[in-house]
Amino acid sequence: MKGKASSNKRTVLGEKNLLIIFAVLVVLLIFATKGTFLSFGNITNLLRQTSINGVVALAMLFVIVTGGIDLSVGAVVGLSGMVFAMLTSSRLNYQFSSTAAVVIALVVSVMVGAVNGAAVYDLKVPPFIATLGVMTFVRGLVMYISSGRMITGIPSNFVSFSSETLLDMPKLVWLWLVTALIVGLSLKYTRFGRNLYALGSNREAARLSGLNMRLNYYGAYAVSGLLSGLAGIMLASRLAAGVPTAGQGYELDAIASVVIGGASLNGGVGTALGAVIGALLIQTLRNGGNLLGVDPFIMQMAIGLIIVVAVFFDQYVKAGRR
């Protein structure tokens, strides 16, 4: 009965279903747009549009794998961008270099993540509520420090980063894909990553297996904060300003991407590749709708339906196998 491992069948299959959906969608769009969809310009544009949301989805993935949820990712995107903008603009008495500002913005983001971790692990507040509270707090904080106004005057070399390319591919896209690769490797091949799956699969069994519970919970939320912060800086570069409402609603897109990517909100299941494809799928729909001149409001309705249908299809196929 023994045989070679076919790795984790469940997730591989999840990604396969997803790829089928994605491929069908792309083929349909190629025909419907008479090839425009496939043009190099459109593809790079699509990837650029996905990159920031894609990074936020990776942030969300870390927490969803533990069986939790992080609603504060969007707010951290806003906070990180704003912190960066304020430090580099001439608002304060001292003007920071871009590098220093990036580091500080990321540190602040990690701290927000650690607060989430503390609320969830030490105060035992359910993740949904804990991160909802932190989200609300951070949104208020962003408004307070910026007085609700846009902060401009960030360094031009930093702003141009978002339009620069490397090997004909926007740097933002590279940043996203490299992050996804690191996330994928960490989840699959590091002890920390394996521990997160254990937490999400069975918390009590994880404890009895000797996992350092505090470290892993804090870790998951801190990484989520870090990646959201990174996305915030990417967005600030694109917007060329610190915008108080930046990142609003990103948490929902991120959840949708991760879940479409085969992750389970019950925890223990989900991959970086899934989160990448999930984010791409949502953006492809938007992009395709745009090309076809579909009313954006109708497009939003369609995306809502697709989220449910995609997850239903995936579960249906899995159930059929049993």
Binding site: K2, G3, N8, R191, R194, A205, L208, S209
Partner: protein, 503 residues
């Protein structure tokens, strides 16, 4: 006697497995039918087809003379067929009383009459002889209490055919007696009972007839008197004779590995004992006596109020399971499903999760995957775990194989003191024998084992010493020469509460 259930040549296949192959059987009213076979013999599949959880591929099922053409869980319940499963499933956050009336709350206009509900539940429980506060939430009950409540809930609905799947696995002797009384009462009322158990002594005690399945096929149905004794039944089930079920090797006692002094916790008092390498120390006691609690406290899973623990002669502080594992202690939890397995993950993950500390690449924090795969596939082979591969999800394995996976976790080199809490719970004879064999292999490697069990024959069979725990206190310690069921049982009752209720 009137025919109640007739199953005719029922077959069922799953991808790659023929789970049931033309199985037929008839159960009459007033009959208690044993259903035995190794794990994977098709017992659960057959039950699930009778209760409508699965659809059969072919064959016919008649109930009270009428064919059930299209079966599903609701239809079967309406017909009066109920099953009490191994994995007790009742709403955990709801009181006992409310659990009894879920879906049919007494009251008017959608307003629940709480008082009537509690009184009705109480009255019913008194009638069947179960003494427990009906206001308690299910989650606050012990496994045994949960099961008794589940059974009571079924009885409340006047079953015609009731199926017990491994009902006594978590029950103490007293509860078992109560259960058997209930079964006899059901029988006298003309109901049919199908009784599935790996505990063949029980099958002989309670059943009139026994049906044996093997590899999805019917071996036969026999009157219990015809078979006469357990030894005659086993060869029919496994197709071979199990020599030396309780495999006991003489292992030289080594140095002291663990010493516990005056340990106090919320559910136990003044526990002291020593454990030497090469020793198998049994923990016996009635369910709820505090055996599991003592084990969990030593492992750092529960808080210790006072007392000291010495490992290898050094006094140690164990604040959490992580500390315990670093000291070389392993713990196989009582409840495999809730505390043992990581259900969505594969076999490899489930074995390696506690071993990643030993599987890291040098100078990097990455896991050495080749090493990890080797470790898990070696253990899968060593324990003859039946799985299509180490990449297979654990929840799709049978209970016995899941248990072996959880056990495999601790068999790597670092766990020197292995605490096994009811390791043979709900697994078949063959797998049990293998686990006993393993335990004796483990102690040969200058390791030691604490073996917690409610099942006396296995404790007597494999332990070097048995510590008897009664109501949170150590009631006595017997060494191998002094073992007898009577003495152990008497010690277990030593400090038992005056009134033997289910609590």
């Amino acid at each position: 006697m009137q025919e109640l259930l007739r199953v005719e040549e029922v077959s069922k296949s799953f991808p790659g497995v023929r789970a049931l192959d033309q199985v037929s059987l008839t159960v009459n009213g007033g009959e208690v039918r044993g259903l035995v076979g190794e794990n994977g013999a098709g017992k659960s599949t057959l039950i699930k087809i009778i209760t409508g959880a699965y659809e059969k591929d072919s064959g016919k099922i008649y109930f009270m003379g009428k064919e059930i053409k299209k079966n599903d869980p609701i239809t079967s319940i309406q017909l009066g067929i109920f099953a009490v499963y191994q994995d007790v499933m009742i709403a955990p956050d709801v009181s006992i009383a409310e659990n009894f009336f879920l879906g049919s709350h007494p009251g008017r206009f959608g307003v629940v009459n709480w008082k009537k509900m509690r009184n009705d539940a109480k009255k019913f429980l008194d009638e069947i002889g179960l003494n427990v506060d009906v206001r308690l939430d299910i989650k606050n009950l012990s496994l045994a209490q949960k099961e008794m409540v589940t059974i009571a809930k079924v009885l409340l609905r006047n079953p015609k055919l009731i199926i017990f799947d491994e009902p006594t696995a978590v029950l103490t002797d007293n509860e078992k007696k109560l259960l058997f009384t209930l079964i006899r009462k059901l029988k006298d009322n003309g109901a049919g009972v199908i009784y599935i158990s790996h505990n063949l002594e029980e099958v002989f005690e309670i059943c009139d007839t026994v049906t044996i399945l093997k590899d999805g096929k019917l071996v036969g149905t026999y009157k219990v008197q015809e078979i006469e004794k357990v030894e005659n039944l086993i060869p029919l089930m496994v197709g071979r004779k199990i020599e030396d079920m309780y495999f006991k090797q003489v292992v030289e006692k080594g140095p002291e590995l663990l010493k516990v002094e005056e340990l106090n916790g919320s559910r136990f008092k003044d526990v002291s004992f020593v454990l030497h390498s090469g020793e198998i120390l049994g923990f016996y006691g009635l369910a709820g006596a505090g055996r599991t609690e003592i084990a969990r406290a030593i492992f750092g899973a529960d808080k210790i109020l006072s007392g000291s623990i010495f490992v290898n002669g050094h006094r140690v502080t164990i604040r959490n399971p992580k500390d315990a594992i670093n000291l070389g202690i392993g713990y196989l939890p009582e409840d495999r499903r809730l505390q043992g397995i990581f259900p969505p993950q594969n076999v490899e993950f489930n074995i390696d999760i506690v071993n990643y500390r030993d599987l890291l690449r040098r100078f990097m924090f990455f896991v050495d995957h080749r090493k990890a795969r080797h470790l898990s596939s070696d253990l899968v082979e060593k324990l003859s775990i039946k799985t299509p591969g180490i990449g297979y999800p654990i929840y799709q394995l049978s209970g016995g194989n899941q248990q072996k996976v959880v056990l495999a976790r601790w068999l790597s080199r670092f766990a020197k003191i292995l605490i096994l809490d009811e390791p043979t719970n709900g697994i078949d004879v063959g797998a049990k024998a293998e686990i006993y064999r393993f335990i004796s292999e483990v102690v040969k490697q200058s390791k030691s084992v604490i073996f917690i069990s409610s099942y006396l024959p296995e404790l007597i069979g494999i332990c070097d010493r048995i510590l008897v725990i009664s109501n949170g206190k150590i009631a006595g310690e017997l060494s191998r020469g002094e073992f007898s069921e009577e003495r152990l049982l008497a010690l277990a009752m030593k400090y038992a509460m005056k009134k033997e209720d289910v609590a």
